[in-house]
């Protein structure tokens, strides 16, 4: 597995010197007409560690915010309000964030600025846990995250180009997963032995290794045009025509709909199961829930590079279908199994689903937005759909669980996943273009 991960992707063209590109404004060294790039090992490693440390920084927010503010004598109403504002901005900021990244000429600079904002907001949490400061910090963190997410994917595409992007996204998923796991463990220990406040100091301090990793990515190897989905003559047209090139992509909105269904079914499955587990096993619940969180991370870290490479070789649709299939089986098993240990084992399916979706979504967006120059904006559109699905999911499953019990809620979530699977099967086309120029034939579903 490791050996494969470090190899250059095999499909499409083997890396070869760029052929002279006719009429393209792309910098001479980095990309040819087929979007091939030649990143150095140093840049690839830099990106690995950058993704790893960004995951570390982002882990500090999330569950610790609520615990920390509780220790600071915040009421549940205030905590809930701040968290809701954060997620609302995180939802509404997706498309503006994407547009901003598309407009940027240096992804490294934008990522660096976004990280500094996030580290500052972590410091604000730690130093001034009063309402106006935390409110502002939460808003700034949400905005910066809307930029940072697409920035990482854009950096990846700008660095490796289309033939290598599948393998690259697989590696991103691996390092993000490992980063999350390591950070969660380290910050959990930190919160336990010191204080919840210390977690935010650690988070802010993670800025330094993150920026060092970012600086290892050589700027000359990141092709800004490629990073945004390739510059075409359309870019020089009016903004309407330019945005139209992406907004006319029916495939993008089909994908967004499928992914919204996915998150509607997936987002509340683990929280609901955790809640059930707390009810069933008092003493061991914490350990079992920890296992339920860690196992999928481990699976993602293990299989992601393979998934990324095979998506390049076999196509994307198989993996999206596999993700929905695994989600359906997981929902059915959660509804029927009672043994807590068996429930933990079922979480392997969560890892499979997470790896497939986590890689296929940016990959398909990259395919669809190819040649438009609006890669990140397209991600913002799908990201908004993700946010809508993930926001409705807990409310929906919480209501069903209260009224009819958790097995019915799990079956309901599995039912939504079935609808998602059928939608993907029926109307989501394969987007893989095999490293060649995008062709309209690819729109026919197989």
């Amino acid at each position: 597995m490791n050996v494969h991960a470090r190899q250059r992707p095999r499909d499409g063209a083997e890396p070869r010197p760029p052929s002279p590109s006719a009429g393209s404004a792309a910098p001479p060294l980095s990309s040819g007409p087929s979007g091939t790039a030649h990143p150095s090992r140093a840049s690839q490693r830099g990106l690995n560690w950058f993704v790893f440390f960004v995951a570390d920084v982002q882990t500090g927010f999330g569950p610790f915010v609520s615990v920390y503010l509780t220790t600071q004598k915040w009421t549940q109403v205030e905590i809930g309000f701040v968290l809701s504002v954060g997620s609302l901005i995180g939802l509404l900021g997706q498309m503006p964030g994407g547009i901003l990244v598309d407009a940027a000429r240096s992804e490294r600079l934008v990522a660096g600025v976004a990280l500094c904002v996030i580290a500052t907001s972590a410091l604000c949490y730690a130093l001034f846990p009063i309402f106006p400061v935390v409110f502002t910090a939460a808003a700034l963190h949400a905005m910066a995250s809307c930029v940072l997410g697409p920035c990482i994917v854009a950096l990846s595409l700008g660095l490796v180009g289309y033939p290598g992007i599948g393998a690259r996204l697989g590696r991103n998923a691996r390092f993000a997963s490992i980063g999350n796991g390591v950070a969660a463990a380290a910050m959990g220990v930190c919160g336990y032995y010191f204080s919840a406040q210390a977690v935010f100091f650690v988070t802010a301090a993670m800025l330094i290794p993150t920026l060092i990793a970012l600086s290892r990515i050589r700027p000359g190897e990141v092709d800004p045009d490629l990073a945004h989905g390739g510059a075409t003559p359309a870019v020089s047209q009016s903004p309407q025509a330019s945005f139209g090139s992406i907004l006319r992509q029916r495939r993008l909105f089909i994908l967004a709909g499928c992914i919204a269904l996915f998150h509607l079914a997936n987002a509340s499955m683990l929280p609901l199961m955790g809640s059930v587990m707390t009810t069933r096993s008092g003493d061991w619940a914490t350990v079992l829930i920890a296992a339920c969180i860690v196992i999928p991370q481990g699976v993602v870290a293990l299989i992601s590079p393979w998934v990324g490479e095979k998506a390049q070789a076999w196509g994307r649709r198989y993996f999206v279908l596999a993700a929905f299939g695994a989600l359906i089986v997981r929902g059915l098993l959660f509804a029927t199994i009672t043994s807590p240990y068996a429930l933990v084992a079922v979480q392997v399916l969560d890892g499979i689903t997470a790896a497939c979706i986590g890689i296929m979504v940016p990959l398909m967006i990259a395919d669809i937005s190819r040649g438009t120059g609006h890669f990140s904006f397209a991600q913002g559109i799908v990201g908004t759909a993700v946010g809508v699905g993930a926001t409705i999911s807990p409310t929906l499953s919480g209501y069903v669980s209260d009224q009819f019990g958790s097995p019915v809620a799990f079956l309901g979530l599995a039912g939504i996943a079935v609808a998602g699977l059928l939608t993907v099967w029926a109307i989501l086309p394969e987007t893989r273009t095999g490293g060649a120029a995008p062709s309209e034939n690819e729109m026919v579903p197989r």
Binding site: G62, P63, V67, K73, G188, P271, T278, G282, I289
Partner: protein, 148 residues
């Protein structure tokens, strides 16, 4: 914050603004016309804020943090809402525990912790506390009548 307000009020009262005996027992005087309110000073060892404090079982198991207090119509505290269990924000549930089952005496070994006379196993199956619904209080026995 609240403590500093009390201290500020105490200083004002102590500055000769007709404050009644400072540091005395609780005084519930009827509202006098425009007289400044009575002031009471509770030492930090006598009374403490409870919001956000950690709750542990007698054997030292962590039970979560106290996040809310439920009072009845007379203002008497009836239950403490505790954010129980979970890991990294997954699987935690809000549970109401009888006020009388809590012990606020901080012994020398485990200061700053509220102790509850229940175990995790007893608490695990309790129904979740929801605002504006009937509160199902766990561990209610003896002194307090069961919830209606």
């Amino acid at each position: 914050m609240r403590r500093s307000l009390i201290v500020a009020a105490a200083i004002l009262a102590g500055a000769g603004l007709a404050g009644p005996s400072i540091g005395s027992q609780l005084q519930r005087t009827a509202a006098q016309e425009a007289a400044p309110p009575a002031v009471l000073i509770l030492g930090s060892r006598q009374a403490e804020s409870v919001l956000g404090k950690e709750v542990r079982s007698k054997s030292g198991e962590s039970m979560g943090r106290l996040i809310d207090v439920v009072v009845d119509r007379t203002g008497q505290p009836r239950a403490a809402v505790i954010d129980f269990g979970g890991f990294f924000g997954v699987g935690n549930r809000k549970i109401a525990i009888d006020w009388n089952a809590l012990s606020f005496e901080s012994d020398s070994t485990r200061s700053n912790v509220i102790t509850v006379d229940l175990t995790r196993d007893q608490v695990k199956a309790a129904p979740e506390y929801k605002d504006k619904r009937a509160v199902i209080v766990l561990g209610s026995s003896g002194s307090s009548p069961p919830a209606e």
